[in-house]
């Protein structure tokens, strides 16, 4: 494995990641259409910065430490959120410990295999995820009530909304994949725009279907739409399980990006790769117990992405941009 990925694989990673954790979190944090647009616009800007930075985390030990820590924490919270979704939405009565252990082991296996197989897996699943997800939300378009969409927005929240753009992990994925990706900037930019448009469409549909109150009363508004999914003539009764499975695959793929790159960075810190993978499995599993319930892990995830993202998505890539200009 040479751990290099193509433009189409990067596109698959960016878009499938957007259809995982991102579309789960956005309907939870967004209260109005303006806020959604501001968050997505700032998410776009945060995605642009790393795109023009020639940052290479793998070449710096300090960066490896910073990004490893951030990735482990993000992975643990992602695992926790996924576990909660599995318990609540998929009605999989297997217990949190077993679910988290499975998530950690699956992510560990991906880290063991390396970044290239992960990118190929994303490419394999790409069309299934995009078509499946689009199908569900397109089916819901006729049920959108425009009066459900809140247009009241307190401009004083603009700063926090702008920072919430860091919850959209496109920028971070570009930073993390910089070392592996061989695609052109133009292709990556198109992928970022497509992922944001998909997020916009999905969040708009959720808002239009559920309304602000409906979204507040639901732990995971995203999945409320999926319950309405109905493929004619399907043998399976609870068809939302299929679409939730697609979401799970997308979330797994975003989790894989963090865990696999973390394993790579740890191996640059003189830790054997296999040992690093073992540590990752243990850490992701144990740290995911830190927060309990449905809302706390989501809040912690957003906080981590915003605070950590200022450093990892904004400051460090900017240092590289200005550093290059000085040189």
């Amino acid at each position: 494995m040479n751990n290099k990925i193509s433009a189409s694989q990067l596109r698959a990673i960016i878009i499938t990641s957007a259809l995982g954790m991102e579309i789960l979190i956005l309907p939870i944090v967004v209260k109005s259409l303006q806020e959604l647009i501001i968050i997505l616009a700032s998410g776009f800007l945060f995605g642009i910065v790393p795109l023009f930075s020639d940052i290479s985390i793998n070449d710096s030990r300090i960066l490896c430490i910073i990004y490893s820590v951030k990735n482990i924490l993000v992975s643990a919270l992602m695992a926790k959120i996924m576990s909660d979704v599995i318990g609540n939405v998929l009605h999989n009565d297997i217990g949190e410990i077993r679910t988290l252990l499975f998530i950690a082991l699956t992510a560990g296996y991906c880290a063991y295999k390396g970044f290239e197989p992960m990118a190929r897996t994303a490419q394999m699943f790409f069309w299934f995820i995009v078509i499946g997800t689009l199908y569900v939300y397109l089916m819901s378009v006729p049920d959108i009530r425009l009066n459900n969409i809140s247009l009241s927005y307190d401009i004083r929240r603009a700063a926090s909304s702008l920072l919430m753009g860091l919850v959209i992990n496109t920028g971070e994925i570009i930073v993390l994949t910089k070392h592996y990706a061989e695609g052109s900037k133009k292709t990556t930019l198109v992928s970022v725009i497509l992922s944001l448009l998909l997020s916009l469409f999905i969040c708009f549909t959720v808002m239009g279907r559920l309304g602000t109150r409906g979204m507040e009363n639901t732990a995971y508004p995203l999945f409320e739409i999926m319950y309405a999914a109905d493929l004619p003539g399907m043998f399976i009764k609870r068809q939302e399980a299929i679409f939730i499975s697609l979401w799970l695959v997308s979330s797994f793929l975003s989790l894989f990006v963090y865990v696999t790159t973390a394993a790579d960075y740890m191996s640059k810190l003189d830790i054997k790769r296999n040992t690093a993978v073992l540590w990752l499995i243990v850490l992701v599993f144990l740290l995911s117990f830190f927060y309990d319930g449905s809302t706390a892990p989501v809040a912690a995830y957003c906080m981590l992405q915003v605070i950590g993202g200022i450093l990892t998505v904004l400051i460090i890539p900017l240092i590289y941009i200005f550093g290059r200009k000085k040189r």
Binding site: S6, I94, F102, P117, M118, T121, K237, A241, L248
Partner: protein, 490 residues
């Protein structure tokens, strides 16, 4: 070494060899040149040897008038260019090489007053004829299969590709067995670096015996622990020829009726020769069926366990009630029931391969129908479980490659395990792990899931021969494997 030294060396080496034929006799008009001949009985073509070599040496050379203007100072030249009337002769570089040639079915000829050792090609092993294929049956298309003879097999391939670009490099592998291996490739199409790599691999194989191409396959695979085959074995000459044209490399192993084709990607295991002999619409449809069947073959039992144990609400209520009713008196848990049935089926399949064909159908009736029905009647297993196992088995038989079927057989138990431990989520995680595993595999530098992933988009557009078999336009098959090194490892 002199003629006598060579002769003694050969006799020592072949001491206690009951099946060796050794003879010394004088040749020449004056009968003044001794020759020594050695070959292994029944490994040579005796007719050719006696008519073209021995008769000439003993009779024709002797009746030449002694006063004829012949240079007797070079007996080797005299015999090679006048006594042995076959073109396929060569001079061995050493006596050990000549002995190895004898063991390969050739004939050694030592000539007095000459240090050269003559090797006459006289292979004539007892061999099977060209039979019908047994594991890759096609209703329409050629009905020829490879046999155990390397030369017959290379000839079957050459018959299909009459091009000087088809190269055949002869190699030997196995320290003791010294098995002949023919490395065949199309010059200008196959990747040169890959050809060199394979040559090096064959030169460096460090085992005593090569029993079969399956043995060589396992020695050459990059990931030995993966259940998935990374090299394709085929018994069909037409498939081999087609692979060569695509830019693949063929290894014809002596004593094996299966030829190795490499590189091999997952989609190549779903292709059958017949796909190209019938109309594209039906064959594309069948291809899709194969892919679906392949997925079902390793996921259905796991999905059944996940759905019934953890997510019964996914299924229609009537079906859940019917299944629950059928399972009411079954004492075994679903997982145990499925695993036991799967294992019984594996035993049945294994027994079916070993028993004579004439009683094979009896085994199917007794094992499949009578025992299956009795087990359901005795409430040992539920009818639904029998149906699930049967569908899984039928789907596995729809895949045209046995090695891939075996891989799915093993993978199926992994999915059963993950589904039993974590229900529908375990099922999804299990399938993801399998796909990650497949995505991580490479066959001689080519992504195992190519062209779906792991190759440049330009090549993906070329490789139309995957899930669909598109109608022919120009070339029947795109040269997907041509110059792969340039395009893979993005």
């Amino acid at each position: 070494m002199s003629y006598d030294d060579y002769k003694k060396y050969v006799e020592d080496k072949f001491k206690d060899w009951g099946d060796i034929v050794k003879r010394e006799f004088p040749v020449g008009a004056k009968r003044n040149i001794k020759v020594f001949i050695a070959y292994i009985d029944d490994m040579v073509n005796r007719n050719m040897l006696e008519e073209q070599v021995i008769k000439n040496l003993m009779v024709n050379v002797r009746i030449a008038p002694p006063n004829r203007d012949v240079d007797y100072s070079d007996p080797y030249d005299l015999l090679v260019n006048g006594g042995v009337t076959t073109a396929d002769v060569k001079t061995a570089k050493s006596i050990d090489e000549a002995i190895l040639e004898v063991m390969s079915g050739n004939t050694l000829l030592l000539i007095e007053n000459s240090e050269d050792i003559l090797v006459i090609s006289s292979k004539g092993f007892p061999k099977r004829g060209v039979d019908k294929p047994e594991t890759e049956i096609a209703v329409q298309g050629p009905q020829e299969a490879f046999s155990e003879s390397i030369r017959t097999n290379t000839a079957l391939i050459r018959r299909r590709i009459r091009s000087t670009s088809l190269k055949c490099v002869q190699k030997k592998a196995g320290k003791i067995s010294q098995t002949d291996i023919a490395l065949m490739y199309m010059e200008g199409i196959a990747d040169d670096k890959l050809v060199d790599k394979i040559k090096n691999m064959l030169d460096n194989i460090d085992v005593d015996m090569i029993y079969d191409s399956g043995y060589l396959e396992q020695l050459m695979e990059e990931s030995a622990i993966s259940p998935f085959p990374q090299i394709q074995l085929t018994e069909r000459p037409d498939k081999t020829a087609s692979g060569l044209i695509e830019g693949r490399i063929a290894l014809v192993v002596d004593t094996s009726p299966f030829v190795i084709l490499l590189p091999a990607v997952l989609s190549s295991f779903y292709q059958a020769s017949e796909d190209y002999y019938q109309r594209w619409e039906i064959m594309s449809f069948i291809r899709i069926i194969r892919y679906i069947a392949g997925f079902i073959a390793f996921t259905l039992p796991g999905f059944y366990i996940a759905a019934t144990l953890y997510s019964p609400s996914m299924l229609p209520t009537e079906l859940v009630l019917a299944m629950a009713g059928a399972r009411q008196k079954v004492p075994l848990p679903t997982v145990v029931e499925i695993v036991i049935l799967e294992l019984i089926f594996e035993a049945l399949r294994e027994a079916g391969t070993r028993i004579p064909a004439s009683i094979g159908s009896t085994l199917g009736i007794v094992g499949g129908i009578i025992i299956g029905q009795a087990a359901v009647d005795a409430n040992l297993v539920s009818p639904m479980a029998v149906i699930i196992i049967s569908i899984t088995a039928i789907c596995s038989f729809a895949i045209p490659n046995l090695a891939l079927v075996s891989a799915y057989r093993i993978t199926k138990y992994f999915i059963i395990l993950t589904s039993a431990l974590a229900g529908m989520f375990g099922f999804i995680a299990g399938v993801m792990i399998v796909i990650l595993h497949l995505a991580g595999l490479k066959s001689f530098g080519v992504s195992y899931i190519a062209p779906f992933s792991g190759v440049k988009e330009s090549r993906y557009k070329k490789a139309r021969d995957t899930v669909f078999r598109f109608p022919y336009k120009g070339n029947m098959k795109e040269r997907f494997y041509k110059k792969l090194e340039e395009d893979t490892d993005e």
